[in-house]
Every structure is written in structure tokens, then in C-alpha cells.
Symmetry: C2
Subunit: 327 residues, 2 copies
């Protein structure tokens, strides 16, 4: 469960109020923050404590994560000359701290670690908007108005994501997730033209490493078929699409991940258990299902409720704690 930490008191104690990028930059601290929810909940995999903008900060773009708002970029991308600021990533140098975190975590975990990166479209939207957006107006204007520049930007971001993910796997991650958080703002036609090719470059570029590749975005109901074509082994689904419907859109041979509504976890626990069970019953099919929330854990969630969610999943899927991520 992504962002499971932030609902935990032990997380808040350890993290304090400091900049999250500072916490990510300290391997011992970041490793402990990765491990906390695994210890607390007994989940079947860990997800690295990090952020999709870390590689952008690492190549020298000014990035700040503003609490309650999200990532803010110093000088938003506007024109061709900004391309030069997207220099290639050298993971062993630029992400040395993250890779050290991966090594520490893997040494302590007895479940798989999932590494991750931001997909080119979503990262590009931060660079162009200068921060989170409701409308993605500048991004879409550039995409449609200067398609050549757009494709150069996302191609460089694909290289950065690919280098990030390969390095995480080489450091010990057992699976990877490519987050195209905001792809759901695109029509299918625009996704196919402007987002899919770069995401495919990342996912196909991971093919030789033999680790499960998970691909996820929010509000992507209309895009599931295309996101599946991008080359993932597992497609994550938010709570808007029942998993049985998602399976048909995703097509044969791929697993699904999801999809309990995180907001449902604020309801009384008996409701949460029923809704968890509903997801499990709807998820049947080959080649398998990774139970998850349909989006990140809400900070106000009661950890006791999340523990009940995990227990419910294990009650119905006792084999799930075997350490296999994508089965």
C-alpha cells in the first residue's frame, strides 16, 4: 500500500516536519521509513520510500516538495533551450543515496521490495506546469503545439526513468512500478500519441531483467488497454473500474493490481472488511491479482483499519504471503 507510512505514528515521529527530499537522501532513515509499514502490517511486499521527482532533483533541477501541494519546480520548462537541463542520469552517482537505501532495505526484508519511477508524461507535466495542476493546460498546449519538443522531453525522461529502475533492480529490488499518476487526464488518442511511446521505452527497456513490471495511474479507466500495451506485466487500477471489467480492458496474460478506494478506509471497520472482500471476489482470474488500494493511503487513515484490510486479504488469499509479487 503506497504511502502507508504517513498514517503511522512511528512514521510521523521519525520523519518529523522536515523536507521529504531530505529524508529520502538519508539512506538509514529512508530504509527505516520503508520498513515501518511492512513491520506494522505484515504486507507481502515493501515499496521504497522515495518520490518520483527524486531523479529530477538529482540531475540538478530545482525541486521542492511543498506539504499539502506537491512537487514544485524552480524554473518550469517553456522552450527548446530547457531541454539541455534534462541531462542523462548517472544512477550510481546521482542516485547513490537511493541505491544505498535499496541495499539496506533488501538486506533486512524477507518480502520483495518494489522499486519505482515516474512515467515520462507525469514527470513532464510537473516540469512544464511547474507543479501540480488541475487542468494540465500548459502541458497539453506544448504537447499539441510543439510535438517535436514534447517528444524530445519525454524521450529524455524515459531514459531517466529507465536508468532509475534498472539501478534499483541491480541494487536488489524484486519488482518495479512505473507511476503515470496523471495520465488519466489524457484522452485515449492523446495518450497513444504523446505518452505511450515513452512509457513503452521504459517498460520494454526493463524486459531483460526478468522482474515484474507494474504500471499504474489514477483515473485511467479509458486507458487500461493502452497502458497494458506499453509493456507491463501488471496493470494497476484505481477504484473507479471493477477489477473484472479492468481485466477485460487489459487483455489476457497480465495481472491486475488494486483497487480498494482509499477513502473507504475511513469508514467503520466492518464496512472496510466488506469492501475489501468485494475487491478480492471481483479480482478472480489469471494470471493473478496484487491486492492494493486504488491510490495512496490517506494520512488520516486509522492504522488499525489498515491492519484489518491486510488480515482480510490474508484470510482469503493465504498463499499471498509467499513472497511472490506478481502472482
Amino acid at each position: 500500500m503506497r504511502q502507508a507510512g504517513r498514517s503511522l505514528p512511528e512514521y510521523r515521529d521519525l520523519r518529523g516536519d522536515g523536507d521529504i527530499l531530505d529524508a529520502i537522501a538519508e539512506p538509514e532513515l529512508a530504509a527505516e521509513l520503508t520498513l515501518q509499514p511492512v513491520r506494522r502490517y505484515g504486507v507481502d511486499a515493501a515499496i521504497l520510500f522515495s518520490d518520483i521527482v527524486v531523479p529530477l532533483a538529482a540531475i540538478g533541477l530545482g525541486v521542492e516538495i511543498v506539504a499539502g501541494r506537491g512537487p514544485v519546480i524552480d524554473r518550469p520548462f517553456r522552450a527548446h533551450e530547457d531541454l539541455a537541463r534534462l541531462r542523462p542520469l548517472e544512477p550510481e552517482v546521482d542516485l547513490a543515496h537511493v541505491l544505498e537505501t535499496v541495499r539496506i532495505v533488501v538486506g533486512e526484508l524477507d518480502v520483495p521490495l518494489i522499486g519505482f519511477a515516474g512515467a515520462p508524461f507525469t514527470l513532464a507535466s510537473y516540469l512544464i506546469e511547474g507543479g501540480p495542476s488541475r487542468t494540465f493546460g500548459r502541458t497539453k498546449a506544448l504537447m499539441h503545439g510543439e510535438p517535436e519538443l514534447w517528444h524530445q522531453i519525454v524521450d529524455r525522461l524515459a531514459d531517466i526513468a529507465l536508468a532509475t529502475l534498472r539501478a534499483q533492480v541491480n541494487a536488489g529490488a524484486s519488482a518495479i512500478q512505473l507511476f503515470d499518476s496523471w495520465a488519466g487526464t489524457l484522452s485515449a488518442a492523446d495518450y497513444a500519441t504523446f505518452a505511450l511511446p515513452a512509457s513503452r521505452k521504459v517498460l520494454e527497456g526493463m524486459g531483460d531483467l526478468g522482474v515484474p513490471r507494474i504500471h499504474f495511474g489514477v483515473g485511467t479507466g479509458e486507458l487500461l488497454g493502452l497502458m497494458s500495451e506499453a509493456g507491463a506485466d501488471v496493470v494497476g487500477v484505481d477504484w473507479r473500474v471493477p477489477l473484472s471489467v479492468a481485466r477485460r480492458r487489459i487483455g489476457a496474460g497480465k495481472a491486475v493490481q488494486g483497487n480498494l478506494d482509499p477513502a473507504v478506509c475511513l469508514a467503520p471497520v466492518d464496512i472496510v472488511i466488506k469492501e475489501t472482500t468485494k475487491v478480492l471476489l471481483d479480482a478472480g482470474g489469471e494470471p493473478g491479482h496484487i491486492f492494493n488500494l486504488g491510490h495512496g493511503v490517506l494520512p488520516e487513515t486509522d492504522p488499525g483499519v489498515l491492519a484489518q484490510v491486510v488480515e482480510t486479504v490474508h484470510y482469503w488469499q493465504p498463499g499471498a504471503s509467499s513472497g511472490e509479487v506478481a502472482e
Copy 2:
């Protein structure tokens, strides 16, 4: 095109920086603000200058519309005793200013005026969250945790929406639109249980008036079939679902409305014309299509570009300016 005014210099001159609720409360001003985009663009219908929270403010709930954020409610709903604050609406008294605006506008227009109201789910979400929300956590917690209270809230909000719409039609509006702006945050199962019945009460309650009923929300791809069942004659679609796909989900006998991505209107004009044409070509089918953006006009949109959009629609659909709304 909803919120077409805010991209116009004449709108900004007239509106100034004042509270939008104050502007809505002045019939002469609100009528002029309704008419400005019709004059500028030559569109085939006007939409009333108002806001979905106006009836809530009118029955005495403390509502403020904060620029850049949205409606904020003084004392958010938490418990059963808050129900009493949702007293029945007496439109001729509570909405006298809005109805006066309708009368002035209808007297000056030679195209139909579309009235509107907020759907019960969306209004309830503002009351419960206290303002705009990204997660709708409190709303969903109350909905699942206290379903009886929830149904009482949305039932009262349905009565308020119905009274609002009936009064607008009686004052001269030729069509109505029910905005369930945030319904797209719900799974289909939750929509069917917690939102649909109250929306149906509103839409079916308009049946005897014989005006076209339009039903719209953002990100509702998975809900189009259910929203159609709620009793609309026209279902609005955002840009995420091609209209040809939307038609299949909506079912026979209903018109579609939409669905150019408002962010596309920030691209160079040749692209905007092509994308407008794409929508028109995809919209074919019976019983008709109301061209529109898939969401409100972005404030930074160039009015010249919107004029080109309208011209493109009229070039391809010369009959569209006949004054018929839902054909």
C-alpha cells in the same frame, strides 16, 4: 460553453474582483454576465451566470467562494443534527434574484437559456468536506458509515435542486443541466447506491415540464450508463471518453453533449480547429449532439480561439443555430 465568460476581458471588467456570489445576487449584472459570451461567440444557447452552491447559501448555510479554491462551507456537516440546517427551499423567496436574472436574460436572448443546479451527491460533498476535496474522504466515510443519514441529506438536496430547476424553467429557462461535478470519484457500485437515487428524483421530477434535461459530471466514464438511467435526455461527457464510445454506454434514445478538452484550447488555433472537427466527426448518431467543451473554459483561454471553435462547429453543423437545444 460553461464558464466562457471568465476568459473575456469584458467579463473581467464588469465582474471586477468582487465575490462571485455578490455578482450573482445582482440580477442586472448577472444577466449581463450571462449575455456577454453569447454576444461574443454567437453560441446557440446561453447558460445562466450562477453557481451550484447558490441555493445552499440562499437557505442560510454560510457559503463563500474562495478564488482559486472553490466553495467553502462555514460549518461542515458532521452529524444528524446538521440535517435541520437543510431546510426546504422556497425559490420565489430564496432565489428571487436568480429568477429575476432568468427573466431579464430570456427577454433579451434569441437563443435558449439553460438553467442549472448541483446534483445531490456533489452538493453533499461540499457540505461534508467543508470545501473542495481531492479525496472525498469524509463524504465517503459518512456515506458508508451512516447510510441512513446520507440518504436523508441527499434527499433534501434533491428537493432543493428540483425546486431550483423548476423555478428556473417557470421563469423562462428552456433546458436544464444537473451538474454532478464530482460523481466521477465514485465507483459504479457506490454511485448506484449513494448518488443515483437522489439524482433520479431531481431529473424525473422535471419530467412534466417537457424541457430537455442534461446531466453532466467530470471523469464519469464508468458511470455514463447509470447517469443515463437517472433520467436525463442528454448526457454530458468529458474529453476522456470518445463520444462514439459514450453513446454505446449511454444507450439508445439519449443525446450526448461534449467533449473537446478545454486544455486543448490553449494550443495553436490550427490544432484547436482539428480537434474540434474530430469531436464533431466522432459525435454522429441519433438523437443528436450538443457540441461543448468537456469541462469549463480555462480562464487563460484566448477568446479568439473560442470564436474559432464556434465557427468550426457552425461550419460543419449549419443547422445547429436553429435554437434547438437537444437536437
